[in-house]
Symmetry: none
Amino acid sequence: MTNAGGVAADQLRAFVDRIERLEEEKKSISDDIKDVYAEAKGNGYDAKVMRQVVRMRKQDKNERDEMDALLDLYLHALGMAPGKKQA
Amino acid sequence: MTNAGGVAADQLRAFVDRIERLEEEKKSISDDIKDVYAEAKGNGYDAKVMRQVVRMRKQDKNERDEMDALLDLYLHALGMAPGKKQA
Amino acid sequence: MTNAGGVAADQLRAFVDRIERLEEEKKSISDDIKDVYAEAKGNGYDAKVMRQVVRMRKQDKNERDEMDALLDLYLHALGMAPGKKQA
Amino acid sequence: MTNAGGVAADQLRAFVDRIERLEEEKKSISDDIKDVYAEAKGNGYDAKVMRQVVRMRKQDKNERDEMDALLDLYLHALGMAPGKKQA
DNA sequence: TCGCCTGATAGTTGCC
DNA sequence: GGCAACTATCAGGCGA
């Protein structure tokens, strides 16, 4: 039976499978990140400090993004379409 | 200059770049997962229930793994080396 | 002075005191737990195995709770209010 | 049967029970702490800042304890028994 | 849309 | 001293 209790079981199963597959990929990448930190540690770097650096760079990026968004806003307000931005 | 403050700046930069690249991939996958939930929701499924189901399936797997671990512990405690386990 | 910098210093102090008191109690209990493990070890039990057992029992309980939660979700999703549950 | 596989099952069970009882108490206290933070929040305090305060005070205490330990060491080295210290 | 709350992640501590 | 478990913090999802 492919339709139990009014639910398309096959479709539901497909969604769950896709999600689980993606979560495995995500986990795999998390492990890769851990590996890089471990490798860096093996080369004498302090993982904790590195994490701090990564965090700060991400923050900087966020701020730059906000800046860009504000710039777009201004340009639009001035009737000037902004140039295409790369993703 | 490639060595500032006693650290190999190039190597450090390479590590950080690798990490940031991986974190982008991870973020991308997280977004994909959100998309799947959104799509499922669009097909009439309850995201909250789906999340619970996914979580419980993961839990089940963890439980099975723990059971194996406990068995190993018992065997060791009893001085019986467990048979080779496949990865 | 009981109001410095616009905050009711006395009240804040009271909250902090309560928290610190509770954290001391918590620490004390953690120590008690460690003592029990040590005592068990002194009686020939393997602490690692015991921890695993305790963890699995907790896991079992969580699983049962999750099952209940899922049931509730299903009932809600089907528009059926679940019966009152005892704490 | 009270002795299975060479293990005094009753004694083991007693240890596990004691541990689980203590962990429940610990959990209860953790909940109490959360409640205090929530109450403080309801009174207009920022929980995050409060946590920072508590952390700093704990750190201060640790440093004071180290200082005291060092003092004891010195006094002993000088053949001078330190006065009784309140807990 | 905002606030809350649960789940994910990072840091700390204890064990081997 | 490294590793694993546990705790505390943080962020994203959900409900009002």
